[in-house]
């Protein structure tokens, strides 16, 4: 029995053997039936149904404009609690924009205008529109954390990177910080690699480690939702696998929304998948169904690689 590098409830095989699988897939040409492939590879999944899931966020009639140009058209969907939801679609289809509008990062773009609603449910199930005037954007982003495509650690030590969000909240007690930093780094599967050099610069880490550090930094403030914007696209295959493993673990505690270009990744990590095309939500459902039996012709074309 090979050593398990990360405690993984879903997949007990070693990292190496799964890496081999991924590489075989990569070499065997465009995925024709990615969901099938993963299932046959032992990725057992119980049947899921979107209707029965508790809601975490609900998007209702969302239109988004950059200046005069409309980027998102009438998007309505519900994001289930403590599940992984993937947005797929070709470049420029608006999936990143949709993700960024979920914690109002689009506010930073000049000329960005939103109408429609995005409701974020609190613990008792009451949804609050995050675009309401009374919403404090900093608080919102604390509840809805985000990880970007390119690792963006701060030019500080590893420790200070993870403690950053807490310090912003005014928590400076050494003991509390120590605990949270260790917990977050363990949660991001990075503790073992950095525990002896917590006070060295985060810029000395590899790209994959930096990305996991950024995830640790985000979960350290214990958000309810984690938005991941192509978190593995700038990384090498091994780092990618580690991140994907991590996402599988994170959904036990957080609601995860991930944007990805890589359909294997979407099929492998997500419970629900939304396919977007030209700013519209084309199809949304549980991942197995969407990949094996898509309702829409456009979805099928995309996942079988018929779009260039």
């Amino acid at each position: 029995m090979p050593v398990k590098p990360y405690g993984d409830a879903v997949d007990s095989r070693s990292l190496d053997s799964r890496l081999t699988d991924s590489l075989t897939e990569l070499l065997s040409g465009p995925a024709t039936n990615a969901g099938e492939r993963f299932r046959s590879a032992g990725h057992g999944r119980r049947a899921l149904s979107l209707e029965q899931e508790p809601t975490c966020m609900a998007i209702a009639g969302l239109n988004l404009f950059y200046g005069q140009k409309q980027v998102l058209f009438d998007i309505s969907m519900k994001i289930p609690r403590k599940r992984v939801t993937a947005f797929i679609g070709s470049s420029g289809c608006g999936k990143s924009t949709l993700l960024r509008s979920m914690n109002r990062m689009n506010d930073l773009v000049d000329g960005c205008r939103v109408d429609g609603q995005i409701l974020l449910d609190d613990a008792s199930g009451n949804g609050v529109n995050i675009y309401q005037k009374s919403v404090n954007v900093s608080d919102l982003r604390r509840r809805v954390g985000m990880v970007f495509q390119k690792p963006n650690p701060f030019p500080k030590s590893i420790y200070e990177n993870v403690a950053y969000g807490l310090r912003i909240q005014g928590i400076n007690k050494r003991r509390v910080l120590d605990e949270v930093v260790e917990w977050a780094l363990k949660g991001a599967a990075l503790w073992g690699e950095v525990k002896d050099r917590l006070h060295e610069s985060a810029l000395g880490l590899s790209g994959g480690q930096q990305q996991r550090l950024v995830i640790a930094r985000t979960i350290a403030v214990e958000p309810e939702v984690l938005l991941l914007d192509e978190p593995a696209s700038a990384l090498d295959p091994i780092s990618t696998l580690k991140i994907e493993e991590l996402i599988n673990e994170l959904k036990a505690r957080f609601t995860v929304v991930i944007v990805t270009h890589n359909m294997q990744e979407a099929a492998w990590v997500s419970d629900y998948t939304a396919f977007m095309y030209m700013g519209r939500l084309i199809e949304y459902g549980d991942t197995d169904t969407l990949f094996t039996n898509p309702r829409e012709k456009q979805t099928e074309d995309y996942i079988t690689g018929r779009y260039s």
Binding site: V147, K150, N152, F154, R167, I168
Partner: protein, 541 residues
Amino acid sequence: MNSGSPWVWLNAGAVAISLVLLFGLLGLIAVRGLGYFWPGQVLVANYQPPGQAMLTVAGEMIARETVPSSRLPGMTGDTFTRSLLHQGNRDLTGADFVWLVDPWLSNCQYPVDIMVFEHREWGNFYGFLASVQENGTTIIASDESARAVFDERLDRAQVIYQTIRQIEKHDIGAINAELERLRLAQRRMELSGDRDPVQLAGITAQRQQLNQAHLALETQLVDLYLALNRDSFTATTATGQVVEQPISAVVQAWQPNGLSYMDKLAFFARKVAAFILDNPREANTKGGVFPAIVGTVMMVILMSIMVTPFGVLAAIYLHEYARQGWMTRAIRVAVTNLAAVSSMVYGVFGLGFFVYFAGGHIDQWFFAEALPAPTFGTPGLLWAAITLALLTLPVVIVATEEGLARIPRSVREGSLALGATQAETLWRVVLPMASPAMMTGLILAVARAAGEVAPLMLVGVVKLAPGLPLDGNFPYLHLDQKFMHLGFHIFDVGFQSPDVEVVKPLVYATALLLVAVIAALNLSAVAIRNHLREKYKNLED
């Protein structure tokens, strides 16, 4: 030949020319400036212009040049050479320097026992030590041991002289400062109509005490001056004149022709140290430039303290908070254009606005008791620093803005996505990362400010300041005082002195020192910047 080669050569040539110019200039300044401190050989020779009586001349050869014969009637051949002799003894000969026609020189000798006496006034004296007197009585006249006795007496006189200066500058200076403070306190009471007899009596008592202390010091000074002038010496010039002078008039005496190489090196080091650490003498043409160094450094540091926060804050507002539009563009153009305004204009503005308007009002409000004598309503260190801060502000703003623009968007977003506000992001992430750019701005500002002279002439620099801007009297840092500056010192010594030949090497030496001071200030800023850059590298791409 590769297609790109000429281009590479062109670039390399441009760099080479810049380097040659830079090192050529530095080399010239260094050689001429440092040569000033090296002890030259003293020549004694016969000099016979045709048809005149033979003279004996003595002194240091400073320069030699070739002149066409047509300039001097009676010379044969195409050209002849002539030499510039520093003959000193200005009180006897009337001129420190004299041009000698080389063919008329004969019997050139370098006698070992000829001495150079550097006077506190009247320049150098060249001659042979004859005897040493105490209270007018000759105590030694023999040649052998006279030098040792002379040196010992000279050391004693130096010690007394230092004591006198210490008392005059420091002790009496402190008493005067205290008396002035009392006068102002009394005047303040008069102005406010407060006639508290107890307080007035206190002031009078204090004043009496101080006057007594002053008197005691003066008596002490009289004794010291008597002791200082006890000894004198006689020396024979090369022409045979015997001159008697007090030993206290001499700063330093040496026998250059007898010095070994190591002795000369030690002498050189002492002279350099004296130049850096001493006060100027003889209308700045002799002595050191210490007050000018202090003034320059103080002014630049004050300027940095003022310009950095101001420029950085302005840049942050312009780049981070202001709504980008035609207004910010116009402000940026205006700021960049400010950098092109002649520094003299800043000087005039500083004089009109800061000195007369702001300073005048400060005097009326806070220093009314000193009027009509102005406190801040006159050029001074504070106004000079503020004027130069204004002058260098555009540099800091532009450099900081560029630094802020280089911070990757992803890092800002990373901070905002963690729930930080814009201000927290700025303070905790953006500003530390932009700090190398701020240092670059500061380096450019320092380089510009330290070399600037023209505006300073209007707002605070003087030829000779009575005291340092930093001293032991409350409030220690005197922002209202006028100060000396190396750049102005060069101008003043080089162009406002009666004898060009005396000051020429001094100009070079001062210029070298100014370059060294600016380099030191800049290098320390560069070191800080490199440290910061090292800390935040990898993120600039």
